[in-house]
């Protein structure tokens, strides 16, 4: 049954004229291999020890796939997967024995309870980040173990729950061991496929963006908190599913099977195989279940060796076995260049727009204080439609802080920011992105482990971008944004393979793909050599020619003069000049504050 539904997924439906894609072949092959595996298990009479090992491996692997989502894709630690696994297992065990529920109902309840617990845990701790999350999940794990052991009236305490019955599926009894195993493997194949596909879905991309650079993900339009909570909930649900199947598989469970050390085992399985890939995860699970059998001679010090192995994996194979293999694969078989035929040009907001004097961004009395330091002090700023507005000032004058306040990375200490007539002063970064604000960073912040195209896709997927709805439109829109900066052919390469200058172009393409109403460029010329800088000026002039509204910060006066329509000068957090470039650059106050200071240090 599992194989059928896989085959159904393999044929893309509802996409009409979608062309054959090499990935589809992989799906078909996967469906065939998965159904053959299930059939093979059904036809080989397994028993006793081997059956138990496979049962453990397949149910564990489902729970470990949850860690692929939360740890591998989203980069958040979860040290309570055994507790979620236990919640699923105890729901099935107590549901079918004490409450006499059907196996299916009990299993669904278990998944629900685990997901709910995961959601609550995530909601309370995911705002706080890494160490807190590690601690909170450990705490949850400890409390779960204490309750399972001590609430004897309900959980039967340390004695555990015996006599868990296996279910019947569509009139077919799964009571017999091999049939149940085949069922578990079928579920594993489906879950594995889904987790694999998740990476290519919008949610999956958002997760990876959060993992690679949370700050950039936020300003690109990803609701980082929601994404993390979702990842955590899905992970817990898969833990519950695996646990429910585990309880049916072994028909007896006890609290020690769901302790903290098991959570660590789950984590190690994901890390050893390679947490970022479902195949790696499944491989790691199988390996760690078989390893004790192969290392029997180490019996006493087995766990000590295990601990040492964890350290060694982290030091030498931080991406696990799968990441290690994949790295070599990428080296010898780099992704081919894209052939681009019939790619529509990037539809920018206004083709050849003329400045009409209307204001898109109005900042009034904006302040940002760090303790006693007034980094931005009562600044007013008006940016007109279809203009390039430059913000300049000496080092430490508050330019970057102002940009961070505008994009929502810093919360302002006072004042208002109105974008396209809407007050966005209190919105978090992703909602400012949704209202049309795009930005780049001075120290490039790309999603380092994702492909160039995926980086830009995250940008194109910003909420409120109507130009890229639907998978096909998304692809072509992201490619068009890359084509605009001249990198479309290399779309499938990893961003890490690009030069610094090209990475900056990808960052601009990512912002452009979101079709921003206002683009903030934070020192786009920083760290570029002359040739790269010339290319950047050309790119900025093309953007200007298309009428995009831009706020640019840069130190390079040459660059600023070539593109700016309007200049605002900051010094010590205050606005000291504002107007046409020619007027501002001759303002004696500006020369004193900015150029004068430069001259004083000129010889250094």
């Amino acid at each position: 049954m599992s194989a059928d539904s896989l085959a159904a997924k393999a044929v893309p439906t509802g996409r009409g004229k979608r062309r054959w894609h090499p990935g589809d072949l992989g799906t078909v092959v996967y469906a065939i291999v998965a159904s053959c595996t299930v059939l093979a298990v059904l036809s080989v009479p397994l028993q006793g020890y081997a059956l138990n090992l496979l049962m453990q491996a397949s149910t564990y692997a489902i729970a470990v796939l949850g860690l692929t989502i939360v740890l591998g894709y989203t980069g958040q630690i979860n040290l309570a997967q055994a507790a979620f696994f236990g919640l699923g297992a105890y729901s099935v065990a107590l549901g079918t024995t004490t409450l006499s529920l059907s196996f299916w109902l009990a299993a669904i309840l278990g998944i629900g309870i685990a997901a709910l617990a995961g959601a609550i845990l995530g909601l309370t701790s995911l705002r706080l980040g890494g160490h807190y999350l590690a601690m909170v999940t450990i705490s949850f794990q400890m409390i779960a173990t204490l309750i399972l052991t001590n609430w004897i009236a309900v959980t039967h305490g340390p004695d555990g729950v015996p006599g868990i019955a296996r279910p019947t599926l569509l009139g077919l009894s799964l009571a017999e061991g091999t049939r149940y195993l085949a069922f578990c493997i079928g579920i594993l194949c489906i879950v594995g496929y889904w987790v694999y596909r998740l990476r290519m879905m919008r949610l999956g991309r958002a997760m990876q963006a959060v993992r690679d650079n949370e700050l950039a993900a936020g300003v690109t339009g990803v609701n980082t908190y929601q994404t993390k909570v979702l990842a955590f909930t899905l992970s817990a649900a898969l833990g519950g599913l695996g646990g429910g199947l585990f309880a049916g598989g072994f028909t007896y469970i006890s609290p020690d099977q769901f302790s903290f050390s098991e959570s660590v085992v789950f984590l190690t399985m994901a890390l050893l195989g390679g947490a970022r890939s479902p195949f790696g995860t499944a491989f790691g699970t199988g390996l760690l279940i078989l390893l004790p059998e192969w290392l029997r001679f180490l019996k006493v010090i087995y766990l000590a060796v295990y601990g040492a192995a964890v350290i060694l994996i982290m030091v030498f194979m931080p991406e696990g076995i799968w990441g290690f293999v994949n790295r070599f694969w990428q080296k010898f078989y780099p992704p081919p260049l894209r052939v681009l035929d019939g790619l529509a040009p990037l539809p920018l907001t206004l083709e050849k727009g003329e400045p009409d004097g209307s204001v898109i961004l109005e900042v009034s009395a904006l302040s940002k204080h760090f303790g006693g330091l007034k980094a931005v002090d009562q600044v007013d700023l008006k940016i007109a439609h279809n203009t390039v507005h430059a913000l300049i000032g000496p080092n430490g004058s508050g330019k970057s802080t102002l940009l961070n306040v505008l994009s929502g990375i810093y919360r302002s200490s006072g004042g208002h920011i109105v974008l396209s007539g809407r007050d966005i002063s209190a919105l978090p970064p992703h909602r400012r992105a949704a209202s049309g604000m795009g930005r780049t960073f001075q120290n490039i912040r790309l999603f380092g482990a994702m492909s160039i195209l995926d980086n830009v896709k995250v940008g194109a997927e910003r909420p409120g971008n109507t130009l890229a709805s639907g998978a096909k439109a998304l692809d072509s829109h992201a490619l068009a944004a890359l084509e605009f900066v001249g990198l479309a052919e290399r779309a499938d390469e990893s961003v890490g393979s690009l030069s610094y200058g090209h990475q900056r172009h990808v960052e601009i393409a990512r912002a452009l793909a979101g079709n921003p109403a206002l683009l903030l460029l934070d020192e786009p010329g920083a760290g570029l050599n002359h040739i790269e800088k010339d290319a950047l000026v050309l790119l900025l002039q093309r953007l200007k020619g298309h009428g995009l509204t831009i706020l640019i910060i840069d130190h390079d006066m040459n660059l600023v003069e070539q593109v700016a329509d309007h200049i605002t000068v900051l010094n010590f957090g205050r606005r000291i000049a504002d107007g046409k470039p020619i007027d501002v650059l001759h303002d004696p106050q500006v020369i004193a504050a900015y150029l004068g200071e430069e001259a004083a240090h000129g010889t250094a």
């Binding site: 890494g130 160490h131 705490s139 204490l146 766990l303 030091v315």
Partner: protein, 291 residues
């Protein structure tokens, strides 16, 4: 009333141990921005080292303590080189996992060497104490409280009044700037690990006579010490101490009035509540601004 005072005394004693281990956490966290999940195993190693030296080898108690602390100091250096140093340029996640791996290695290594049976270590005082009114002040608990207070004072002087303390602070605030000013960041981190391991070992030496010495003792102390440092305000030395004391008292009263089997749950429940309503902790670590 007398019973409650007795509980308060015991709670402060237990809390002092948490505070000592939490201090080690905070020091390493401030120097490396990483939480060392093997911090509690330093205490476990300290306790086992006392059992080996004072009971198995029959060395004098004071000599055993000195040797134990020296061994832990050396171990802190090894730990830094093997577990932290190779991963120093990575994000915190691999380092956390690496310290968890170290914790598994240490506990099971000791288990393989010493077996699962808990050991016990006699106290130097052989059960004497002071009775004030209806409250019996056990001498081991008094010693723990005294040493914890002394260590807190020592640490304050070290950080605020000495040159090496200033350098340690500089490293914890801005590694890049510190190294530009000629401070050897690597050396300072090494010093931190050595000091933290010694501190953990000292906690183990102190706690060994009142608990059974077992391989799991470290992780349960460490988890609570970590919870304590979050409750107090993570990254703050004072927060770690106050959090530790509060936790010790809550746990002792909880065990006496509510439930003994769920004793360990109180710490984690308290942690949940603090994280929900005051995530920056009681003393309030500034929520770090991201740049």
């Amino acid at each position: 009333m007398g019973f409650n005072l007795q509980l308060l005394f015991t709670g402060i004693g237990v809390g002092s141990i948490y505070a000592l281990v939490a201090l080690g956490f905070v020091l390493i966290y401030r120097a490396t921005n990483v939480v060392n999940f093997a911090q509690g195993d330093f205490a476990m190693l300290g306790a086992f080292s006392m059992v080996v030296l004072a009971i198995d080898f029959g060395l004098p108690y004071w000599l055993s303590i000195i040797l134990t602390l020296a061994a832990l100091a050396a171990f802190g250096a090894i730990f830094n080189l093997a577990v932290y140093y190779p991963l120093r340029n990575r994000s915190f996640l691999p380092v956390i996992i690496s310290t968890i791996g170290a914790s598994i290695l240490l506990e099971n290594g000791v288990l393989a060497a010493y077996g699962p049976r808990p050991q016990s270590l006699p106290t130097v005082f052989s059960g004497q104490g002071i009775t004030i009114g209806s409250v019996f002040l056990d001498s081991q608990y008094l010693l723990i409280i005294g040493v914890a207070a002394a260590m807190v004072a020592f640490q304050f002087l070290l950080f605020e009044r000495t040159f090496i303390g200033k350098k340690l602070q500089a490293v914890s605030q801005d590694k890049e700037m510190a190294s530009l000013l000629g401070i050897s960041v690597g050396t300072m981190i090494m010093v931190t690990f050595i000091y933290s391991a010694t501190l953990g070992g000292l906690a183990g030496v102190l706690v060994a006579p009142i608990l059974f010495v077992s391989v799991g003792m470290g992780s349960s102390i460490a988890l609570k010490a970590f919870a304590a440092s979050i409750i107090g305000g993570f990254g703050e030395v004072t927060g770690a101490i106050i959090g530790g004391l509060i936790l010790g008292v809550i746990e002792t009263f909880g065990a006496a009035y509510i439930s003994v089997p769920y004793k360990d749950a109180f710490a984690f429940l308290g942690l949940f509540i603090v994280l929900l309503f005051r995530p920056q902790g009681l003393l309030g670590e500034r929520v770090a601004e991201k740049a």
